[in-house]
């Protein structure tokens, strides 16, 4: 088995830039690939570490498969994209960037709904009043289900998959409430939506993850531990 380990880093955007900065600060400066079209890079002074540039959601999947040794990505993508993530990956460090909350937001004029319990009441007789279940637009169906069904015991709703502009779904009549990601809340406010008091499902940020249990090769374990330690784990 190769002694070289792989750390996956988001392939574009602010997450990529911040991750590269953190690698640099940790003494693991990523050398720009010779060919700009490749998705692999070496690390200066650390021949045993290779960097793979992957899409942020792909990193969650590869962690689940155990095909990479470390990965930097948003916690929301891991919790949503990877079934049973609690048992399949270990969160080694929160990296302090890429902050975003996954929240339950309802129309601002729903003044009778402040909490999940209030929303549960609305959901309970929604069908009697409107002939259909309460609809939730989201791309986070796993997190939504966990928060509604398991944490708050609310069953009577339907998830409408939304792959973009989720905050517009209530006004467009596609859904009644949404579960979406927000960093400042300004998009929600602009769309006349408000976050429920207990509606923060996950306070997400970029994190360093490793597959559980990880490699059993002692040399590779050592390399992983050194890099993780340098990144703040």
């Amino acid at each position: 088995m190769s002694t070289r380990i792989t750390i996956a880093i988001p392939s574009k955007g602010r997450l990529k830039e911040e991750a590269l900065k953190r690698m640099e600060a940790a003494g693991y400066g990523v050398e720009p690939p010779k060919d700009a079209r490749t998705y692999r890079a070496a690390v200066a002074g650390h021949p045993n570490v290779e960097v793979a540039f992957l899409s942020a959601s792909e990193i969650a999947r590869e962690l689940g498969k155990g095909s990479i040794d470390l990965g930097i990505t948003g916690e929301d993508l891991v919790r949503e994209g990877l079934p049973d993530s609690e048992n399949r990956v270990t969160r080694l460090a929160q990296l302090g960037f890429g902050h975003a909350d996954v929240v339950v937001a309802v129309p601002e004029p729903w003044f009778d709904v402040e909490t999940m319990a209030d929303l549960g009441l609305v959901a309970a007789d929604f069908r009697q009043r409107h002939g259909r279940r309460l609809r939730i637009a989201t791309k986070y169906w796993r997190l939504t289900q966990k928060h509604f069904s398991q944490t708050h015991g609310i069953q009577l709703y339907r998830i409408i998959e939304s792959l973009g502009a989720t905050e517009g779904a209530p006004a467009a009549g596609q859904a009644d409430v949404i579960v979406d990601i927000t960093s400042t809340g300004s998009t929600l406010r602009a769309n006349h939506l408000k976050v429920l008091k207990d509606g923060v499902i996950l306070q997400s940020q970029a994190c360093l993850f490793a597959p559980t249990p990880g490699t059993d090769d002692p040399d590779r374990r050592e390399t992983v531990a050194a890099l993780a330690g340098a990144l703040g784990a």
Partner: protein, 373 residues
């Protein structure tokens, strides 16, 4: 267990179904997923096997039979009552153990004479188990959502309470948590001045106006969702609830009711005694309960051996009255049934169609009887 999968065992079950007077119905293994998710809720999504057709329709492997049988009844445009018998595999995702189970049962759909239909359903379920060779003593527990609803209505609880309690019925932990929560008066919601004023004055018309304005600004006026009237009603109920001290007596009465447990042949009497002591008029619900128990006796059911448990129910909002469960002495459920008068309209029937039915877990029965059912 494999014995049940064999052709001869299935033939036996078909014979039992025929003896019980049910007509055999086959429904496809692959079913549209929406009716299941719509009626049972999104939690089911984790527990069913989902797939998709080429045209994008979400399909699932049937997780149970009641809904497909009802859909068949609606789709066939049946107007006369029918009693459908079925046997086949159902599929449920589980973390451990198998994912497919053999079930059989009878759904009695469209019979408006509910007391004898209920009685026949329970009698058939017991007869089915006996015909399968279950000789060990079983425990039959019976509950009734209609009686619970009558108690809630009789207590005159605020609107929000009734909804919450009715919804928690069937799940003891949720119900107890709800009762505890109701003992603490909730503060009124924090609202802006233009909403607060009509709320405090209980000026419903002004409140509806203010809310309509807010909904218009939010672009939600004609979105087909909640409207100003609904929000106004709930807001006023919230402000009312914050001012009315929780009715300790009503909650205590409810707890007393939930603790009622009696053999079925004594249950109507126990309920009447409770109603009198609590000063509640439950006469309609108790009369229907008693009539059904009498029908069960007529159908040859030993009502002294069935226990009525006031807190027993199913946390699904399509069950409307009778629910029952037949289990082994150590609690393994072998058969379950109930009345679902709300289900067919939920599934698209144009008018109210009553239904009652039961399912038998054949694998569990086979394990119990040594596989030679």
């Amino acid at each position: 267990m494999n014995a049940l999968r064999s052709f001869s065992a299935r033939a036996d079950i078909e014979t039992i179904l025929a003896q019980l007077g049910a007509e055999r119905l086959d429904v496809p293994v692959l079913q549209p997923a929406d009716p299941f998710l719509d009626t049972a809720g999104e939690e089911l999504r984790r527990r069913i096997f989902l797939s998709e057709s080429e045209t994008g329709e979400t399909l699932c492997l049937r997780p149970e039979f009641t809904i497909p049988v009802c859909l068949h009844h609606i789709g066939a445009g049946e107007s006369a009552p029918r009693r459908y018998g079925y046997v086949g595999t159902v599929f449920r995702q589980r973390r451990a153990g198998g994912n497919e189970f053999l079930q059989a049962g009878i759904e009695d759909i469209g019979n408006t004479d509910s007391a004898p239909a209920d009685a026949r359903s329970l009698a058939d379920a017991l007869a089915f188990l006996e015909a399968l060779g279950v000789s060990a003593p079983t425990v039959t527990t019976l509950g009734d959502q209609a009686v619970f609803n009558a108690v809630i209505a009789g207590l005159g609880l605020p609107q929000g309470w009734a909804v919450r309690l009715s919804h928690a019925f069937g799940d003891r932990a949720t119900l107890d948590a709800t009762l505890d929560a109701l003992a603490v008066p909730p503060p009124p919601p924090e609202v802006p001045a233009d909403i607060l004023e009509p709320c405090e004055a209980r000026d419903r018309a002004a409140l509806v106006n203010a809310l309509s304005m807010r909904l218009r600004i939010a672009g939600l006026e004609n979105s087909g969702g909640r409207d100003a009237d609904e929000i106004a009603d709930r807001l006023i109920a919230r402000f009312d609830a914050a001012e009315i001290a929780p009715d300790e007596k009503a909650l205590a009465t409810l707890r007393t009711f939930l603790s009622i447990s009696a053999p079925l042949n004594e249950a109507a009497g126990a309920l009447a005694g409770f109603a009198e002591a609590a000063g509640l008029d439950l006469s309609d619900a108790i009369a229907a309960f008693g009539a059904r128990a009498t029908e069960m006796e007529k159908a040859g059911v030993d009502t002294a051996a069935i226990s009525y448990d006031a807190a027993f129910g199913r946390a699904l909002d399509y069950y409307t009255a009778l629910v029952y469960e037949i289990a082994t002495a150590d609690g393994l459920v072998l058969a379950g049934g109930g009345r679902y008068d709300r289900l067919l309209t939920m599934l698209g029937a144009g008018s109210d169609v009553p239904g009652v039915g039961f399912s038998v877990w054949l694998d569990r029965v086979a394990a119990l009887t040594g596989g030679d059912a």
